[in-house]
């Protein structure tokens, strides 16, 4: 089953050029089913006393969604780039809908609630990240692509280097600098709100 799923995903991604919307619509449920699988493992971990090998679990999920082994070598870089973009859109949309539900689903605020609000960087706010990533793209396009490929696309440093046609060392440096810059910008955003 896993093999046929990833095959279907690969086809969808490759057909991206012929109609982005259709590919996106078909991919969303596949990504959500991986999200549910990950969430399920998190919830069951505590109850059964399992330690979760989350890295392994998430790698498998990425492999099911983005399996480059079925792609011709020449298409690999293009394929990775498109997958990362799509993952970004789907996951940011997911986070946005979640935010929306929270805002309208929650009722009153409580006194201690405000003291518990954490900065967006700490809470893993994908919507806030998406915003500051746009700002980064305007300043330094390559760094924002490094973040998109590594964080949203789940690519290794080497794969990212392959897509961007730079050395792994450059990816390392870009990644480190971009993370510090994004953390600072997201922290600032959090403070200005309060």
């Amino acid at each position: 089953m896993a093999a046929s799923t990833s095959h279907a995903v690969t086809e969808l991604l490759l057909s991206w050029n012929h109609g982005e919307r259709a590919a996106l619509d078909k991919l969303v449920p596949l990504v959500y089913s991986e999200l549910r699988r990950i969430a399920h493992r998190y919830l069951n971990r505590e109850r059964r006393g399992h330690t979760l090998q989350s890295a392994e679990l998430v790698n498998e999920a990425y492999l099911r969604l983005i399996d480059a082994s079925q792609v011709r070598w020449q298409d690999r870089a293009h394929f990775f780039a498109i997958s990362a973009q799509l993952m970004r859109r789907i996951l940011v949309d997911f986070a946005r809908s979640r935010r929306y539900l929270k805002r309208w689903g929650g009722m009153q605020r409580t006194s201690f609630d405000e003291a518990m609000v954490v900065s967006p960087a700490r809470s893993g706010d994908l919507v806030a990240l998406d915003d500051v990533l746009e700002t980064l793209a305007a300043k330094d396009g390559r760094k924002s692509r490094v973040v998109e490929l590594r964080f949203f696309g789940g690519l290794s440093v080497e794969e990212t280097a392959e897509v961007l046609k730079v050395s792994p060392d450059t990816v390392h440096r870009d990644w480190r600098f971009a993370k510090a810059w994004l953390a600072r910008e997201m922290g600032n955003a959090g403070r200005s709100v309060t």
């Binding site: 969430a39 990240l129 964080f151 789940g154």
Partner: protein
């Protein structure tokens, strides 16, 4: 595309990172040669080490954890200790607050419950404990009284009506 200033900030950032604590500060002071804005810019980035920790886990994992947190909030009807959870009152970045029935003392309380996904994070658990201690040390009519702590829940006075700001 990238500006000279941006490139300079990046160069100094990496050069400072490659040096040990004291040397890094001395290096920056000299390299910025009186350009305080430049020095502050680099320092503010150096201060972010580990700040974007969540970027180290891929986005799929971050989103999966968030979904787990949402599911976890479906606690209504369950019990924690002697507290029967009745309804959701609100949500914050670090957990949700429920109305619960204290079955021993026969009164309603507010339960602030930390998401299950956070219970393996020592940093968050330490903050949780600190919050409980701080609340226990305060006594003010605008601040809800803390009654106790149950492994991942704060048991608090239920303040009816609007938030304190509105009173």
């Amino acid at each position: 595309m990238t500006s000279d200033r941006w490139q300079e900030v990046e160069r100094l950032y990496h050069a400072a990172l490659a040096r040990e604590g004291d040397q890094s500060a001395a290096f920056l002071k000299e390299a910025c040669a009186g350009d305080d804005a430049l020095r502050h810019e680099v320092e503010s980035l150096l201060a972010q080490e580990n700040g974007a920790g969540f970027l180290d886990a891929p986005a799929l994992e971050v989103a999966g954890q968030q979904l787990a947190t949402d599911r976890d909030q479906d606690l209504i009807g369950r019990r924690i200790g002697s507290y029967q959870i009745l309804s959701l009152l609100g949500e914050g970045g670090m957990g949700a607050v429920y109305r619960a029935d204290d079955t021993k003392l026969k009164r309603d309380v507010a339960l602030k419950i930390l998401p299950e996904a956070f219970t393996h994070d020592p940093g968050r658990m330490a903050r949780f404990q600190r919050e409980a201690e701080v609340l226990a040390s305060l006594n003010h009519s605008n601040i809800a009284q803390i009654y106790g702590v149950e492994d991942r829940a704060l048991v608090m006075e239920l303040v009816e009506g609007e938030s304190p700001k509105g009173r």
